[in-house]
């Protein structure tokens, strides 16, 4: 089964996302900050990373940039978890951040479980 790394500084959110993914039998690893997330991405080599943007130690953009710039990990799909929601800024955000950071997709928090699963399946090439 695919291995998914979830990186978010909010443990409640990590737990909720973990439950969603485990319900679909994914193998879930959690990291509670940008630095930890980066480390685990490198040591665990997950099949996909669900990455929060706003984290105090190292934000999601920085983590994404570093991974995508690394030939060894650059092909791990990254799904950004954004909190910038609301229709107006999201579209700009998509164009400016999502594309610039080379994240593979983005989804606003909170996520609908079914939608999260669908996006992940797309990224993993299962849909």
């Amino acid at each position: 089964m695919s291995k998914i790394l979830i990186v978010d500084d909010d443990p409640d959110l990590v737990e909720a996302v973990t439950m969603i993914l485990e319900s679909k039998d994914y193998d879930v690893i959690a990291a509670y900050g940008g630095i930890e997330g980066l480390e685990k991405a490198k040591t665990e080599e997950p099949d996909l990373i669900v990455l929060d943007v706003m984290m105090p130690d190292k934000d999601g953009y920085a983590v994404c940039k570093e991974l995508k710039g690394d030939p060894k990990f650059g092909n791990i799909p990254i799904l950004l978890l954004t909190a910038v929601v609301s229709k107006i800024p999201t579209t700009r955000y998509t164009q400016q951040m999502g594309l610039e950071t080379e994240a593979d997709d983005y989804i606003d928090k909170p996520v609908e479980p079914a939608e999260l699963v669908r996006r992940i399946e797309v990224l993993l090439g299962k849909a």
Partner: protein
């Protein structure tokens, strides 16, 4: 004048006096006679207001010449016609030199007399009219001078800056406040072309555009400026063209307000709102997320009752999130971050995307969502994301407030220098008393029909903010039960900036 004129006949011969009186009084003129120079002068000095004097030159006692001279002193405008005897042209000429208006040699026919008097009266009438006009002009000039000085004083004492440009974009008037705000010597502006006054570039451009504008429905352009200096000054500038009665632009007036203090307060407020919203948002998002997971049964099975309560809790958390998002948007827009990237936009493309984005939501509610574009539309210079947000919001509202089976239409048409977009629905409409307030922050129409609809009341105020930041207007037409149409009019990009 022809009627009611007063004529004095001064002659020592009774027959002449009576003859003249008879001839002249036929024409509805009032004739007074005097039998000697003395009597004549007395009548004139009496201030009886004669228009014309018929004066015999040859009289015993005071002669006609003396009477004429005295008359000139009393009233230089009084017209004197001298009556001269046979072939005494010399004395007639002398009298004319002394200021007589005309002469009539004896003997004369009634017609000759009438003609000459008539002419004199006409001259008198013109004279009066001229005097009247002259005094009127003097009074007007005095009034203008007073008004001018009053306006100059008002403008110079004003706290707001005022700057007036003529149609050649030369500064023709500015007050000390304007100079102070723009950081320019007032005297170095007046009389100089705008481009040489080192005035803020954006403002210069706005003024130029206002001078070029024809028939714009947004004659007044308001914008915020920042004048850099040791301490930056924030200004709000209102620029409007001055037009004459046939609509030609004669110049442009700009009023400046120093909003630095307001700006500071506003940014503090926005920071606060943003901070609070973020601090609020994360936990609420987390709660929402946990509820979603539980509702999916991923944390174990739930009883029907638990499900119902949690569904409601999730809905409430969702409403809270929407409110926080709106607050975040608003604080961002108010912090001046919203409209930054202006580019020429194809509205048909932008609206097409909005339709695509909103179609699932509309179809889920059994609504038709149509896009009707009347090409070719001119480009609009704007912020793509913000304008997308505007129409997404308007269509979103239409979906919210339109019952199943209804229809929503986005229609885009060219309208002179503008592009007009109507978003209309067949929904529940808006009551008359609510119409003026629907663009206010936090205003929500409260009725039995809207009770079930989740919203924060911020959407339309944000929409309005964005439209206005694009120098556009938004208006609404609606009838309770008869659907609503929101109309956004945006200025097309000028050819130069295309």
């Amino acid at each position: 004048m022809a009627g009611g004129a007063r004529i004095l006949v001064v002659d020592d011969e009774q027959i002449m006096r009576d003859g003249c009186a008879r001839i002249l009084s036929k024409k509805d003129w009032e004739v007074v006679t005097a039998e000697s120079g003395e009597a004549g002068l007395e009548a004139i000095k009496g201030g009886d207001g004669f228009d014309v004097v018929l004066l015999d030159l040859m009289m015993p006692g005071i002669g006609g010449m003396e009477v004429l001279e005295a008359t000139q002193q009393v009233d230089p405008n009084l017209l004197v016609i001298v009556i001269t005897g046979y072939a005494t042209v010399e004395s007639a000429v002398e009298a004319m030199k002394k200021g007589a208006y005309d002469f009539i040699p004896k003997p004369f026919t009634p017609d000759q007399l009438r003609i000459i008097v008539n002419r004199a009266l006409e001259k008198r009438s013109l004279q009066r009219e001229m005097e009247l006009l002259k005094s009127e002009r003097e009074r007007s000039l005095r009034d203008i001078a007073t008004e001018k000085s009053r306006i100059a004083t008002i403008i110079n004492c004003m706290g707001d800056g005022v700057m007036v440009c003529d149609r050649d974009s030369c500064v023709v008037l500015s007050n000390p406040a304007a100079g102070r705000m723009l950081g320019i010597q007032e005297s170095s502006m007046i009389g100089n072309p705008l481009s040489q006054c080192s005035i803020d570039g954006t403002l210069t451009e706005t003024i130029m555009e206002s001078l070029r504008s024809v028939d714009s429905p947004f004659p007044t352009v308001s914008q915020e400026l920042c004048v850099s200096g040791p301490t930056p000054v924030f200004l709000r500038a209102h620029t409007a063209p001055v037009r004459n009665d046939v609509g030609e632009t004669l110049g442009s007036v700009t009023v400046l307000q120093d909003i630095t203090g307001l700006k500071e307060l506003d940014s503090m407020k926005s920071d606060f709102v943003a901070m609070v919203s973020h601090e609020l948002r994360s936990p609420v998002a987390s709660i929402h997320q946990q509820l979603s997971v539980m509702l999916e049964g991923m944390a174990g099975d739930l009883t029907e009752r638990q499900l119902r309560m949690m569904r409601r809790a999730k809905e409430r958390a969702n409403g809270l999130l929407e409110l926080i998002n709106d607050l975040l948007d608003l604080s961002k827009i108010e912090a001046g971050m919203a409209v930054q990237y202006k580019e020429p936009l194809l509205m048909e493309e932008l609206l097409g995307r909005v339709r695509e984005l909103m179609l699932p939501e509309a179809e889920a509610k059994g609504l038709r969502l149509e896009l009707d574009v009347e090409p070719p539309l001119r480009l609009v210079k704007g912020d793509r994301n913000n304008l997308e947000g505007v129409f997404t919001n308007l269509v979103g509202n239409a979906i919210k407030y339109t019952p199943e089976g209804g229809e929503i239409t986005i229609r885009a048409t060219g309208e002179g220098e503008n592009v007009r977009i109507d978003v209309s629905d067949t929904g529940i409409g808006i009551a008359k008393q609510d119409l003026p307030r629907i663009f206010d922050r936090f205003y929500r129409v409260k009725s039995e029909k809207t009770r079930q609809i989740v919203g924060t009341g911020l959407g339309l105020s944000i929409v309005k903010h964005i439209v206005e930041a694009h120098l556009g207007t938004i208006s609404v037409e609606s009838e309770e039960g008869g659907g609503s149409t929101f109309t956004v009019v945006l200025p097309a990009a000028s050819v130069q900036s295309r």
